[in-house]
Subunit: 329 residues, 2 copies
Amino acid sequence: MVTITDIAEALGITPSTVSRALAGSPRVKEDTRVAVLRKAEEMGYQRNIMAANLRKRRSDIVGIVVPRIHRQFFANVISGAESILNEAGYNVMICQTMEKLDVEIKVLRTLRNHQVAGVLLSHAIEARDSKHLAALGNIPLVQYDRVFFDYPGAKVVGANCEGAFKATKHLIESGYRKIGTIAGFMTSQAYVERLAGYRLAIESAGIPFNPDIVYENAIVRETGREAALKALEAGCDALYCCGDFCALGAVEALQEKGVRIPEDFGIVGTANEFFTSLMTPALTSLGQNPYEMGREAARAFLEGRTDTTVIPMELQIRSSSIRNTICQK
Amino acid sequence: MVTITDIAEALGITPSTVSRALAGSPRVKEDTRVAVLRKAEEMGYQRNIMAANLRKRRSDIVGIVVPRIHRQFFANVISGAESILNEAGYNVMICQTMEKLDVEIKVLRTLRNHQVAGVLLSHAIEARDSKHLAALGNIPLVQYDRVFFDYPGAKVVGANCEGAFKATKHLIESGYRKIGTIAGFMTSQAYVERLAGYRLAIESAGIPFNPDIVYENAIVRETGREAALKALEAGCDALYCCGDFCALGAVEALQEKGVRIPEDFGIVGTANEFFTSLMTPALTSLGQNPYEMGREAARAFLEGRTDTTVIPMELQIRSSSIRNTICQK
DNA sequence: GGAATTTGTGCAAACGTTTGTATATTTGTC
DNA sequence: GACAAATATACAAACGTTTGCACAAATTCC
């Protein structure tokens, strides 16, 4: 392994000069700079990043923490963040928490031990408060998607309330009458806001808000099924779902009961996962623009921001929510 | 930031002893070990991994290189590898190449600069040979899924030939007569073998192999569409597809042409991506068991193996390939 | 042409660990 | 109780960079 000292010796200069030359410091003469660069190339020099990081007391790695990597949403957040961070000379270290608090704690500790330059985090469902985030010490943290508003620092979130409002309003305008919601976990602000948006839309339409047809703590396929069956029993004819997987479960459960979608029952999901367009009927979904969210989170880190950025959400209307009536407006 | 020197001073001993105590060396007395551990806890000590890595001349990071993170297949490989590596005390650094050779080269250089303990790689489609892998120097490399057999070191691959054989045989047994294949890129061994398996099945059934109905260089949705239209024109009544996305494109193109699947035309994909079960008709797919592949690749790295491991592939039979005839055998 | 300034390079100390070797202490043996 | 052996700790040198400071040489200024 060739080091800057080797280069220095080969050139009869000191490692400091080599270091500065490689870093492009204006303090070295042009001639020696090109000499160093050529020699480095010739000797096959590879910079030892760990040594540099140790000396500089910080690394060029940014940690990205996601609940689960295989969810399209998070995979796209990662891609977005990576596109910005790589450009700025950073590398990313991706960590999955599997929605578990203890894994999240372990992961944050690891990132801290690596002295990463920053962390972009979307917390696990199991994490009910921001206490454990303090483990990061003074490493800059950007929260995205699922955020704790009581914890200081930059945040990037979807326009959840506004989005859920649009989604629910769309169901109302499609002519559905008793619209429930699969609401997710109230431990996460994102879901709280979606519920708020749903409620706002309902009440704006002059319909009284009915807590009995709000199905909390459902988010995956199986719990979506269960919630849908309850909703059916309660006389609902539509559901706004806080996720696509629970929406998928809902669709399946209803179809098994012989309920026709969208004729008898309307469904809207959230996230606009790839599979939603392939379902029968294709699922209307509130898209979150994860790629942009990742880019924005990365920018927030780079610029050292501490504010909150809101990423618009767009309703992708498909078959599962369009009744025979023509969509008004 | 508290260091082992701080702990040593607080305890009136030397950093070396603290280091050994923390590492669980048998050379330190039980008493001092617990004293060190308690003090470390009390002072909120966090090990500086970069310093340790520098001294040990290797890092605790294993690089995982994937073409695209958002593909279920690779996301699951990552999860599998992570499960084994974390257990063994390693952390993973995930890199996407976006199927581009220059990005792959850049990524490998970065991993090398980080002195990672090892690399698990599935090369980009654009990478046509193994030349650029030498950039890793003496860092152990495990190739998985897409591998270069001419490059030394451990490899973990799916039973592509055998799998494609099963998939094609299934189409034959379902009663399809003229079976083509969307074959992918012949620059990648995985696709070469799938084609070989297809051919073997065809010929074993006494059907002459017909290169005219082998559609190469198709792998994504759009190219799958194009290939399917050509196959239709050529009089095919079935296609074995080397991927699920090109299979999806094929299904869509055929359906638009009014071709009924599976009645008029049979389709089998490869990878068993999540969405295949949600399509109409549900897509029969040759599943690759990516989670196991990731685990195996990680084990190959840990054990320093240099052999080739083959992961069985299982055919998930769904509607897209079952004609009215009963499946023989 | 001497003083002041600029420019380029060298020196050496850090960054926080790990680890081979040396030393001090304890234990065991006869 | 002297000596060997085992045990536990200390010493000090690395690992490969970066960077503040010092210093020499070259340039500028009056």
